[in-house]
């Protein structure tokens, strides 16, 4: 309950800052918005770009410059942060189209042959590899829905996807991860039994 109230208060502050920028051409208000949201936007882009921090920061800069230019198009029907994530994701897609990065699915078959994990220490690495085996859409949905803790509706808004598709991708993605990490689950079960 307190979390929902916090979220509503944050959204209210954002809207007030946006109004200050639009009415008074207030650069310091935009700087506050920037400081409040840069961390999550950069984290989102780093995940989407598989940890490429430099490229993610370049895209994040582009995202905020676009947000500055198009701020009068923010109508408050979504949270300001969600609106920013949508711009960031659109910038990311444009880069993907340019560099044909999404064609990375080509090494999918190779990834399927990754041997089962042997040590619990490697769990995070295996999860990372399992994530890369998912389709780009499934990865994006799990990033926004689970890791960034957006609602299904917000994820649908950010990714410009129908709500049903988001839910399907989330379910399929988790099911695929479960299959990929089945060896860990069995190992954990055996440990519990012994």
């Amino acid at each position: 309950m307190a979390c929902v109230a916090d979220s509503a208060a944050e959204a209210h502050i954002d809207r007030a800052l946006v109004t200050r920028v639009l009415l008074g051409d207030d650069r310091s208000a935009f700087e506050q918005l920037l400081r409040r949201h840069q961390g999550m936007v950069r984290a989102q882009l780093r995940r989407l770009l598989h940890g490429d921090a430099a490229a993610a920061d370049d895209l994040a800069q582009e995202t905020f410059l676009l947000a500055w230019r198009k701020l009068d198009q923010f109508r408050g029907d979504a949270r300001f942060s969600t609106w920013l994530y949508r711009i960031a994701y659109t910038c990311f897609l444009q880069v993907c189209r340019k560099t044909a990065m999404l064609a990375g699915d080509a090494d999918e078959g190779e990834a399927e042959n990754v041997p089962a994990p042997a040590h619990a220490m490697d769990l995070q690495l295996d999860l990372e590899r399992a994530m890369r085996r998912l389709s780009a859409a499934e990865q994006a949905v799990l990033l926004h829905c689970v890791q960034m803790e957006l609602s299904h509706e917000e994820t649908a808004y950010v990714l410009a996807m129908p709500l049903g598709t988001v839910k399907t991708h989330a379910m399929r993605g988790k099911a695929k991860l479960k299959t990929s990490l089945a060896a860990w689950h069995e190992a954990a079960g055996k440990e519990k039994a012994s």
Binding site: R27, L34, R42, Q61, G76, K174
Partner: protein
């Protein structure tokens, strides 16, 4: 996939996410690159509205229907032309009201 397994996967994914990135001068760099905001120019809209209103008035000024309707209305005589003028004014007021409500809903 049962709920417990789904929760376990979600927990793993959340742990894997590093969370917000520290600023490390990023905001200052973006602020330096920020261009001046372009103010939206409103005079073409207002001059268009004014010119349209004047053109409309000039076109209607010579219309016998409007003149007759106006005179009948002023003399409290509910002729067909007076009712037409009244209906046109009512229709325009309704359109303005609907437009105003639609704009307010968008904000």
């Amino acid at each position: 996939m049962n709920e417990e397994q789904s929760d376990a996967i979600e927990l793993l994914l959340r742990r894997q996410f590093d969370g917000p990135v520290p600023d490390e001068d990023f905001s200052r760099q973006v602020m330096q690159r920020l261009p001046q905001r372009r103010r939206r120019v409103t005079w073409p809209l207002w001059s268009g509205i004014l010119m349209g209103a004047v053109a409309c008035w000039l076109a209607l000024l010579s219309s016998p229907l409007l003149r007759a309707g106006w005179q009948d209305w002023v003399n409290d005589h509910w002729s067909a032309s007076a009712v037409t003028v009244l209906l046109v004014m009512l229709g325009m007021a309704m359109l303005a009201l609907v437009w105003g409500v639609a704009e307010a809903e968008d904000r």
